[in-house]
Point group: C2
Chain length 301, copies 2
């Protein structure tokens, strides 16, 4: 079976490539740590060529890319499309990269040009395009990550969205504050300390900076340590309180579509359950692939 | 005039010493960076001896100390007294350090042994004791710092308190996240970006992790950068929203006693003004000295 295109999800610190047939089935794949930051050093074309070769891509196979490769500091800037943004328009706004003998397109991100709530995404919009292929055109969508995105999807468009830098705050606090003495271990979704953190922070978001100090003070006074689970629960609970305040409790069907994978997805699912959100989980990587395929069909189909 | 005692405020990363006469007037002083962390390396007695000598303290002058020297990992542990804690009891619970030819006492900190809100302070209680000397026995007191303390003082006792790790969160986020690209400069209390951050965070504390991302996303989309002022305002506004939620809007006289000094004190004062708190500012260092003097009089007077 000969591939129809190569599809690439090029993040800040990760690279994933799939060779897809005309129905979007995976014929070969590759992944590596050559994200935007690394590729700025070694060259984007070289990284792409190496992965195409390793996957056995035929000469001239077209390539569609989403993610940070299209950032200003990436390979070639693919200017944002603005909210409200129709996902079907992504392919039309792709930029073409000069690469001898190959048609390479980078999909744009989405910008919310609102002075009160400026926000940007690159990569997540392609996962949302993949959701359309699964029949989800209107929903409140959660995409957990270093920078979690919450998207109000309406009739196949991004109506509005919010980025919560929850994951990066967790990393900074657990490595660079007194909490490093207390936030040891890994958070597990069924840890009572995780769920207690979710409850307390979501019920009392304003006092989060005091709840964080209590993670350190508690064990000093002989109370059971909450560890990394308590910290993670508090920060995710805070995020969910913010989502409830800003986006309401759910989409048209009263549920949250959780686009995620791995342990972080499990933590969000447990926190959403704890707070009474109805959750429909969809694999994030499959959605990215489906979105890239949909864009490729629009460009070359 | 011969000194009555030496008074020392020994913090985590700072050391301050005063020789005081019988009326609490300063006869000599010294300060340095030999806080608890440094003194653990060089020896507490050696640091104290060196500063006493430099200040010209006579042999045998008694010494009263507050702060982290009394922590478990300090010179000698001065066990916490528990809330509700009468400040007049601090002197009685001081621990004596063995030091040849000298009477040296370390005052205890205060602990809140509440499983839902465990909290500790070391040093701030002595500033509060100094407030009593100024006739402030009941108030809502704010002590800004790396770890800000908010204390409900009632009839000369610490009724309850909350520590917000606002300053340490600011330091971690501005040095170790994407905000380091956006949080440049210094926050000034009259900067509109500071006050805008205070307003937004105090009105919408739940979405703080999204407001923080907007500090980065705004300039990417061409909006005016908010810089360090915006980050500082957001985190202080969050703290004040938490205080309002937990401690109510003021003490018996409807005001906040702000125990502070320097630029951080000015930022808190501007934020409190912005949110409509009535503020009575008192110098934190003078309060610490007055509290140490009061304890010294109780011990040796």
């Amino acid at each position: 079976m000969s591939p129809f295109c190569a599809a690439v999800d090029w993040g800040t610190s990760s690279f994933r490539l799939w060779l897809l047939d005309g129905d979007g089935r995976v014929l070969a794949e590759g992944r590596g740590a050559e994200g935007m930051m690394a590729a700025r050093e070694t060259g984007f074309a070289a990284v792409l060529d190496q992965h195409l070769g390793a996957a056995g891509a035929p000469a001239g196979l077209p390539v569609v890319i989403c993610g940070m490769a299209g950032a200003r500091q990436g390979w070639k800037e693919a200017a944002y499309i603005d909210t409200p943004a129709r996902l079907a328009d992504l392919a039309r706004h792709a930029v073409r990269v000069e690469m001898p003998g190959r048609d390479v397109r980078i999909l744009p991100g989405v910008a919310q040009r609102d002075a009160a709530r400026p926000d940007v995404m690159r990569g997540e919009e392609t996962q949302l395009l993949g959701l359309l292929a699964q029949g989800v055109a209107s929903a409140l969508v959660c995409l957990p990550g270093t920078h979690s995105k919450w998207v109000r999807l309406r009739d196949g468009g991004v109506d509005s969205f919010s980025t919560f830098m929850t994951g990066e705050i967790f990393a900074a606090l657990s490595a660079h504050t007194i909490l490093k003495l207390s936030a040891e271990g890994e958070a597990a979704p069924d840890d009572p300390a995780f769920l207690a953190g979710v409850r307390e922070a979501s019920n009392n978001p304003a006092t989060i900076a005091s709840q964080l100090f209590a993670i350190r003070a508690g064990p000093l006074l002989g109370f059971a340590p909450r560890g990394a689970a308590g910290l993670s629960g508090a920060l995710i609970g805070l995020e969910l309180a913010g989502v409830r305040a800003r986006h309401g409790d759910g989409g048209e069907r009263g549920e949250v579509v959780l686009l995620s994978a791995g342990r972080l997805g499990e933590l969000y699912r447990a926190a959403l359950d704890e707070m009474g959100f109805a959750v429909r989980a969809i694999d994030a990587e499959a959605a990215a692939r489906a979105g890239l395929m949909r864009a490729a069909q629009a460009i070359w189909g």
